[in-house]
């Protein structure tokens, strides 16, 4: 188990929960599609959950329920123990507490300057000007952009920088739960690493609960405490990274890209070499294989 994961899971007060949440698109017509069915999960205070699933598995629909953009056909969403739909006039405050950053967020930038764009969320919260300014400064730091970016036009930035500004716009609201939908989509390997690093350090600094949607197991495994696997509108697994990877073969059947190193381990097992299947980093594989190699070489001598 990852360092720190245990602490987070021991401190098990759920911050965001769903109870039998079901959502059906175009209900009542003959083209009904069940996007999510009977989803009951508890997201714990301060943990980083990776949500993975194949395209169309319902992960994007699920996160739209977390900040009340969609209302479940049946079931409830609880934030800090209370139903988010209990008081309709407080829906906006739910959106400030659960900050959702959608796919390709750079396309939602609209202000003249980076600072103004990041300030859009905090201003909607009705904060004072000093507070808004502080949050903009902090958010720029979180995403690793220097303060000199504040007065630039967001439309003059590179793709990766735009993405980071957009994410900063959500972080500036200082939500209790930060939800990121495919924050690495369409970025080059260096950009992906930067964004993942940025999310991990943001969480370390703020202690905020983070949900990371991705279809890349590799990205998620590196930083998540627990993984929620969605498959055909249902929750397939929701467990620690190690436990989920022990189902590596099933994950592959669901059409998920498991890390290359895990694939290698699986094919070794097929060849009858007894190595654990739930390895997902090269280091772990090295540790598992080293004793064998040593033994092998001794045998040769």
């Amino acid at each position: 188990m990852k360092k720190g994961t245990e602490d987070v899971l021991l401190n098990n007060t759920p911050i965001l929960s769903t109870e039998d949440l079901t959502y059906i698109y175009q209900k009542g017509t003959n083209s009904e599609v069940t996007a999510i069915q009977d989803v009951s999960v508890d997201i714990l205070q301060g943990e980083l959950v990776g949500i993975i699933g194949h395209t169309g598995s319902g992960k994007s629909t699920l996160i739209e329920h977390f900040n009340a953009l969609k209302k479940g056909t049946s079931g409830r969403v609880l934030l800090d123990g209370s139903d988010i739909w209990a008081d309709k006039s407080k829906i906006r405050s739910v959106r400030f507490r659960v900050g959702v950053c959608f796919q390709y967020p750079e396309y939602q930038l609209f202000e003249e300057t980076v600072a103004k764009d990041i300030a859009f969320g905090p201003k909607n919260m009705g904060l004072s000007e000093e507070e808004v300014n502080r949050r903009v400064t902090d958010a720029l730091t979180y995403v690793g952009l220097s303060q000199s970016y504040a007065e630039k036009s967001p439309f003059d930035l590179s793709g990766g920088e735009k993405r980071r500004v957009a994410i900063a716009g959500i972080m500036a609201m200082e939500p209790q739960v930060l939800v990121l939908d495919e924050p690495c989509a369409g970025l080059d390997p260096k950009g992906r690493a930067t964004v993942l690093q940025m999310i991990a350090s943001y969480r370390a600094k703020t202690g905020c609960t983070v949900l990371l949607v991705s279809h890349s197991m590799e990205d998620v495994a590196a930083i998540a405490d627990r993984i929620l696997v969605m498959n055909r509108a249902h929750v397939a697994f929701f467990d620690t990274v190690d436990a989920v990877f022990s189902h590596a073969e099933e994950l592959q059947e669901m059409g998920l890209d498991i890390p290359r190193i895990t694939q290698l381990m699986l094919s070794l097992r097929e060849k009858g070499i007894d190595v654990p299947a739930n390895l997902y980093t090269v280091q772990q594989a090295y540790d598992a294989l080293r004793p064998r190699l040593k033994g092998g070489s001794r045998h040769a001598q």
Binding site: R95, Q108, G121, M125
Partner: protein, 271 residues
């Protein structure tokens, strides 16, 4: 709300109307509009009403689709009806108070106008429900091709129209996506006064325009890469051919025209 827009929406079905040549459908729609404005009394209007009803039945497009396209027009119909009721002063007076009076003539004119508008909308939506947008612009291009003599590039205009129609659903989807993203940042589109609501649209409109321009650039590159160079020497995969059905339909419409003219002569004019 946005998904209610039905302009240019094709309703897939197997029917004679769907199979007809788009050019003929376009001509007949224009002809229909001309004839319905020639109608002078309820008898000739009835002919056109029956023609509308028959066309709809033959098309196999469900009636609720027509009601959907009619819905946004209802206020216009009501306003014209109201104006006619209060301004036309003919026949016997039914009630009057202050300076306003309602006459039988006013009521029947209002009814006449309403039926006329409804028929107009129904027939023009019938055209878009039964014809794929590309076929429709293709038909427009062919019918307007004489204008090439005047050095107007009809092909370019038709291509622009095709592209505009093609991107309506894409842009609607985009609006929904951006709206959700801004709502997630606490944007409020539902409350406030008119001016505040208009202002609230800015965070949606700017990204929308930016992405529309980006799409336009990408599309133009893609077209250039496929050696698109306008209409000159361009042949078509789908050739348009007039068939017996088209001429039969033309016959029915011309007969209705004759009927309307005759009925206009024989009965007293209403308007």
């Amino acid at each position: 709300m946005l998904s209610d827009i039905t302009i240019g929406q094709y309703y897939k079905a197997q029917s004679v109307v769907h199979r007809m040549d788009a050019r003929m459908k376009l001509i007949l729609t224009v002809l229909f509009i001309v004839i319905i404005f020639l109608c002078k009394n309820f008898f000739s209007l009835a002919v056109m009403f029956v023609l509308t009803a028959v066309s709809i039945l033959v098309s196999r497009v469900p009636f609720r689709m027509f009601f959907k396209s009619l819905k946004p027009i209802i206020p216009i119909i009501l306003i014209t009806a109201a104006l006619n009721i209060f301004y036309v002063k003919k026949g016997t007076e039914l009630l009057s108070f202050w300076k306003i009076s309602v006459t039988t003539g006013g009521l029947s004119t209002a009814f006449f106008m309403a039926v006329r508008i409804i028929c107009l909308i129904m027939v023009s939506s019938l055209l878009t429900y039964t014809t794929v947008p590309t076929q429709l612009t293709d038909a427009i291009e062919r019918l307007l091709s004489p204008l090439n003599v005047l050095h107007i590039s009809v092909h370019t205009l038709a291509m622009m129209m095709t592209l505009a129609l093609r991107f309506i659903p894409t842009l609607i989807e985009e609006i929904e996506r951006i709206t959700n993203a801004q709502k997630a940042r606490g944007a409020d589109f539902e409350s406030g006064r008119f001016l505040e609501r208009v202002k609230a649209m800015i965070p949606v409109l700017i990204p929308l325009f930016v992405s529309a321009f980006r799409r336009a650039y990408e599309l133009s590159f893609a077209m250039t890469c496929r050696c698109y160079h306008g209409g000159e020497g361009r042949t078509r995969m789908k050739q348009m051919k007039l068939s017996a059905v088209d001429f039969a339909a033309l016959g029915v419409f011309l007969l209705s025209l004759a009927g309307v003219i005759v009925l206009n002569r024989f009965f007293q004019a209403m308007i």
